[in-house]
């Protein structure tokens, strides 16, 4: 995969500018060094010229003794030395005889030509000496001496002129050198400032976005997510961090908003549930009141029927007893508006009812109560549960059965339970009906005015003890009778609070 370098990245930028800064610094230092060396070299060359002239003059001076010696003695060693020096001088002379503009340059050029001419004359005089042309070499020797003197003077003049011009040149040279040093210093200074300014720019391009990010993070930490997205124009890395930071801020903001909405919705649901529960409890209470209220019309109706029948059959004492017990029962019913009442109250109500039954059915019905006295004041029980059960047996158990009907109500303490049972020896209840009866009704269940007293008691017991499925059991055999057992857990709190 081809990797494309990111020019805007911090790494690339640092690399580019490092290279540029180093190049500029190297350039300025190199420039300074180059021209300092060059100027030094030029200065050296200027003095080399003077040295060169001096060397030339020395060589010419050295040439004179062997020339004189050879002309006097024709010594071969002198000739050899002479020729050697002549060759040396020729090699020393510059080949390039350009024509300069300056007087000193022209004077030097003249000296070179004069020395050339002098050496040519030396060669001629050697030839003339060999050819023994006495007159010719005598004249030439005189001319050579004159040339030698003239060249020496010209060399002196050139040295003097060179020295004078070099004094002026040296002043210019030092001025130029000073300027170049100043420029070099400025160049180095500019290179340093350039690098420093770039460093500042880079630092600023990094620090400014980071400061903005820091300030933004501080605002976010206080829960302020409404701030605008940060916009930075920096290196790629910082741009990416800023972009990621914006995305993170927006994501958190979005998440928090969602959480708020969810919480609000859950709160609404909770409120709704609470409201529903309250509504349900109210409905149950209404239902309870309704069921409890249903007892009275039944009882009153039956009692009144009994009173009517009794009035038809006979009057006097029995009617008085009957009415007394009826009054006691009414009193009980009116008085017991609570859901739970002392067991004694329920017992008293049942006694009154049984007395009425004994008046109504003196030969066909034998009601009996078996209750230990000590239990009556010890426990409480739901109101109006025993009388409806006994009434249910009176109404349904003996319709088709002949003989004396027996109804026995028994209360026993079977810790932690208080067991109340109503037993008859009637026709019994079918399994289907028992199953139908022992189903707890929801509040949606429509209570009918025809609800029987048994059903009313069962539903109230289920209401008070919803967790206890065996709060009431019905044992029945066809033709043998029915036993309804109520088991109240005396340690459990009945569900009566609304």
């Amino acid at each position: 995969m081809k990797i494309v370098p990111d020019r805007n990245s911090l790494q690339s930028k640092l690399m580019y500018w490092l290279v540029i800064s180093l190049t500029i610094t190297s350039l300025s230092l190199g420039f300074s060094l180059f021209y300092t060396m060059k100027l030094q070299r030029v200065g050296e060359l200027r003095f080399e010229r003077e040295q060169y002239l001096n060397d030339l003059q020395t060589l010419l001076d050295d040439l004179q003794p062997p020339l004189e010696n050879y002309m006097g003695t024709r010594s071969s060693s002198s000739l050899g030395k002479l020729l050697y020096l002549e060759e040396t001088i020729r090699e020393t002379l510059p080949e390039n005889r350009y024509i300069p503009e300056s007087r000193t340059g022209l004077l030097l050029r003249e000296i070179y030509f004069l020395i050339d001419g002098y050496l040519n004359e030396v060669n001629l005089i050697i030839e003339e000496k060999r050819g023994r042309k006495v007159q010719a070499y005598t004249l030439r020797y005189e001319q050579l001496s004159q040339m030698y003197s003239y060249i020496s003077r010209r060399v002196d003049a050139a040295s003097l002129s060179g020295f004078r011009s070099q004094l002026e040149e040296y002043r210019h040279f030092m001025e130029l050198f000073g300027k170049m040093q100043t420029y070099s210093l400025l160049l180095i200074l500019l290179a340093v400032i350039f690098s420093f300014s770039f460093l500042l720019q880079t630092m600023n391009s990094l620090s400014h976005p980071l400061q903005s990010l820091s300030a933004m993070a501080e605002k976010i930490s206080t829960g302020n997510f409404e701030i605008n997205d940060i916009s930075v124009n920096s290196v790629t890395e910082v741009n990416r961090v800023a972009l990621a930071f914006n995305n993170m801020k927006n994501s958190i903001h979005h998440y928090i908003e969602e959480m708020k909405k969810k919480t609000e919705m859950e709160q609404q649901i909770m409120n709704e549930r609470l409201r529903n529960m309250k509504m349900e409890q109210i409905l149950k209470r209404m239902e309870l009141y309704t069921m409890q209220a249903q007892m009275n019309p039944h009882f009153l109706f039956n009692t009144i029927n009994t009173g009517v029948q009794l009035a038809i059959v006979e009057e006097a004492e029995k009617t008085a007893d009957f009415m007394e017990n009826l009054a006691a029962l009414f009193r009980y019913n009116i008085r017991e508006s609570k859901f739970f009442i002392p067991l004694r109250h329920e017992y008293d109500g049942l006694i009154s009812y049984f007395e009425i039954l004994k008046i109504r059915f003196p030969k066909t019905l034998n009601p009996e109560i078996k209750v230990p006295e000590e239990l009556l004041d010890k426990f409480e029980c739901p109101a109006m549960i025993l009388q409806p059960l006994a009434e249910n047996s009176v109404l349904h158990a003996f319709k088709t059965k002949e003989g004396i009907g027996k109804i026995t109500v028994e209360i026993k303490s079977l810790p932690p339970f208080l067991e109340l049972s109503v037993t008859d020896n009637g026709t019994g209840i079918s399994e289907d009906i028992i199953s139908q009866l022992l189903v707890p009704h929801t509040h949606e269940y429509q209570l009918s005015s025809k609800v029987m007293g048994l059903e009313n008691v069962i539903q109230r017991l289920y209401f008070f003890y919803p967790e206890q499925k065996d709060v009431i059991t019905i044992n029945s055999r066809k033709g043998e009778g029915t036993e309804i057992i109520i088991r109240i857990n005396t340690e459990a709190e009945p569900c009566i609070g609304l």
Binding site: Y35, I99, E101, Q146, E169, H208
Partner: protein, 326 residues
């Protein structure tokens, strides 16, 4: 706002200093390249020339030679030649050595005929070095050339001025000067020219000489005027001598009595001519002489020949009070 300004400033800063840096680099390189030390070769940073000519002139510091040198230098600049000036007063050794000096030509101003000069000229021309004689043709042969003013023409111009003078008289004093030695060498030609212009005056020509002393002319003038017979016309051949002589004439209250013919074109001389104090002035053109000398030498160097005689001409400044026109 402040942050933005800082940002802009920091962005501009490297660019600004980068530009400064480049400008300074360019400035430094330019300074170095244009300096005489840019080359390690000892050419002194100067341009190289094609030919080298040597001028042998009197060491006299006069306007004539200054102008001549200026003309020669301007010509050398224009024609890409190098010029060296040597004194022609201090013996002949320089000239003697010139065949070996590597020059491409000589321009020589001499004012004395000398046998040794002819021999030296021969040795120089034998070495293939051309010689141009300036102003004075001391030894004019087929190997040397002449550039300058024709002495005969100068004399003729002086004669014409005298002829046109309203003053009568025929006594003329020609004052030669070492300050302008060319006329001394050409005295015969000048006098011949002067006589050729004489129609009916029958001029009586005398000569006098001044030295390099700038006040020498005053003494000469006094001497001339104190003689029993004062000259009618005094002819000067040097500008300084002219000014000194006029001042003497004015001091002696002899303006108009003695007519002066001067030399040169100085501002004072021109003014005197306009006022009628000076009869006229002969003006040579030393600048043109110097320029043409170089031009001729270059022609010889490149083509091998030039005109053997180049007359650079004269100008005559005449007083407005003169008679008629020649």
């Amino acid at each position: 706002m402040k942050q933005n300004l800082v940002k802009i400033f920091l962005r501009v800063l490297p660019v600004l200093f980068g530009v400064f840096f480049l400008l300074l680099i360019i400035l430094s390189v330019n300074l170095m390249m244009t300096s005489p030390f840019s080359s390690e070769e000892d050419t002194g940073g100067e341009s190289l020339k094609k030919y080298h000519y040597a001028f042998y002139l009197p060491s006299t510091k006069s306007a004539f030679f200054s102008e001549l040198e200026k003309g020669a230098l301007d010509a050398s600049e224009a024609l890409n030649c190098a010029i060296t000036f040597h004194s022609s007063d201090e013996g002949t050794e320089d000239l003697q050595m010139s065949p070996w000096s590597g020059v491409n030509g000589l321009a020589v101003y001499l004012h004395e005929r000398d046998n040794s000069i002819a021999r030296i000229f021969n040795s120089i021309t034998d070495a293939g070095i051309p010689i141009v004689q300036i102003e004075n043709s001391i030894d004019l042969n087929d190997k040397t050339f002449f550039i300058g003013t024709n002495g005969f023409e100068v004399g003729k111009a002086i004669g014409n001025l005298i002829e046109r003078s309203p003053r009568a008289g025929n006594d003329v004093v020609l004052v030669y000067s070492q300050k302008n030695p060319g006329f001394m060498a050409d005295s015969n030609l000048i006098e011949m020219g002067l006589k050729s212009a004489d129609e009916d005056r029958h001029l009586n020509i005398r000569t006098a000489y001044t030295t390099l002393n700038s006040l020498d002319a005053e003494k000469i003038t006094y001497d001339l005027l104190n003689r029993e017979k004062q000259p009618g016309f005094i002819v000067l051949t040097d500008p300084r001598d002219t000014l000194v002589t006029i001042q003497t004439i004015v001091d002696l209250n002899l303006v108009g009595t003695v007519q002066i013919i001067g030399f040169g074109q100085d501002e004072s001389i021109t003014e005197y001519i306009e006022k009628g104090i000076l009869l006229g002035s002969i003006v040579r053109n030393p600048y043109r002489i110097g320029y043409n000398a170089v031009l001729a030498l270059k022609e010889i160097s490149e083509s091998g020949y030039t005109s053997a005689f180049v007359d650079t001409g004269i100008n005559v400044l005449a007083s407005p009070h003169l008679k008629g026109d020649t």
